[in-house]
Amino acid sequence: MNRIRNILDFTLSSLLRRKGRNISLIVVYSFVVFILASVIFFTQALRKEASIILRGAPELIVQKVTAGRHDLVPERYIEKIRNIPGVTSVKGRHWGYYFDPIAGANYTIIAVNDPNRLHDINLPDIKKGNIIIGSGISRLRILHTGDSMPFRAYDGTPLYLKVTGLFPSESELVASDIILMTEEDFRALFGTPSGYFTDMTVNIRNPVEIPTIAKKINDLMPDTRPIVRDEILRTYDSVMNWRSGIIMMIFLGALAAFIIFAWDRATGLSAEEKREIGILKAIGWETSDVIMMKFWEGLVVSISSFLTGIILAYIHVFFTSSSLFKPVLMGWSVLYPEFRLTPFIDAYQIVTLFFLVVLPYTIATIVPSWRAATVDPDSVMR
């Protein structure tokens, strides 16, 4: 073990000789690891949280389609669906989007049809003229409980609604842009005719029956489009999946960076390096000693980069809410949720990243030296 440690000492001395070069190497490599790990942490946490949160989404959503476009659902459809065996409840939803020209942001407006259930989520009652807004809106328009919020109704008339409650900040990820109001106010704002809903949610007792019931609904009312919860969850399973554009760019960038390193190494050792290996062999180092030195060289750089990158990535994603990704994620949105994600980590991904970061680089450091390491020390004498 002394031998291993002594060789490590020499390797470190050797690396320190070209301090600038090796430190920049570690910095760059750490950055690559940082970006990769940040993406991994972010997507994993988001995915996991989505799968938990959206588990309670309705088993089935039914929309009506007219001329290929989304249309309002008439009340009578609800009764038809309710009679299908296996359906526990059917509810009509009133919801829509409101564009606020002042802020340039889109809000999601939801009419509350069951005010009693608001207590379950720690929100106050809603009466006509009152609204509960999400924390994103509160931040954006600087609105608090008691403030009045102006709207422009479908017919151009102004509509003022009073903020009587705020969604708690923990609800950012689901309710950042939501405004809750009464059905009456909803109709006043959007002008939707009574007897019609935006869409319907269907609760089904046995999840296995969902596809069957979806098909039945389609048969009964061919102008409907049922959306199954499974499809909803799958959308989030593939969020920032490696196939998506920007993520692919990031991975390709990282791959390019790595190939540059490996190329630099693989195109052979410099004359200086060859000479030094020759000297080491001449003074008594064996081939295995030289290989071990190269192994340490690769390991020192790659492990340092890995640890630095991954620690910074964790801090970046979970302590600074992925601040560096903000411009990318935000896009054109004006209302941007604060990504205070829960640190759901997948250890398997971290181990894979470790092997990906350390192994190829270390091997790329050893292999080109193999030849030089087996050289006859005699040649150095000359």
């Binding site: 938990i52 969604f167 842009d177 909803i232 993520i247 630095t308």
Partner: protein, 96 residues
């Protein structure tokens, strides 16, 4: 101090920090359990279908229930909304 000792200490500190962060992760998960359950409850009560991530366009806000034609409604050329289109794949059912 020997260079190898220094390096070993740095690595051990690195691993220690990693372990601390791992513990942080476990602690935080426990801590925000309530918040997560609250979100799940909100989803259930309000019958939500999507997380509020991309609010720049109607069909990016609720991609699961997006209308096939909404992208065209925004603007004839806005087939894609940047960057959400690059980050989130179209909902499975839309491909059918």
């Amino acid at each position: 101090m020997r260079k190898s000792s220094f390096f070993m200490i740095v690595i051990i500190i690195g691993i220690a920090i990693m372990s601390l962060l791992f513990i942080h992760s476990c602690v935080m998960i426990k801590k925000v359990e309530r918040g997560i359950l609250l979100k799940a409850e909100i989803v259930k009560v309000l019958g939500l279908t999507d997380l509020c991530i991309f609010t720049e366009a109607r069909y990016t806000r609720n991609p699961s229930v997006a209308d096939l034609h909404t992208p065209f409604q925004d603007h004839p050329l806005s087939l894609e909304h940047f960057p959400s289109g690059s980050l989130i794949a179209p909902s499975g059912r839309l491909k059918r």
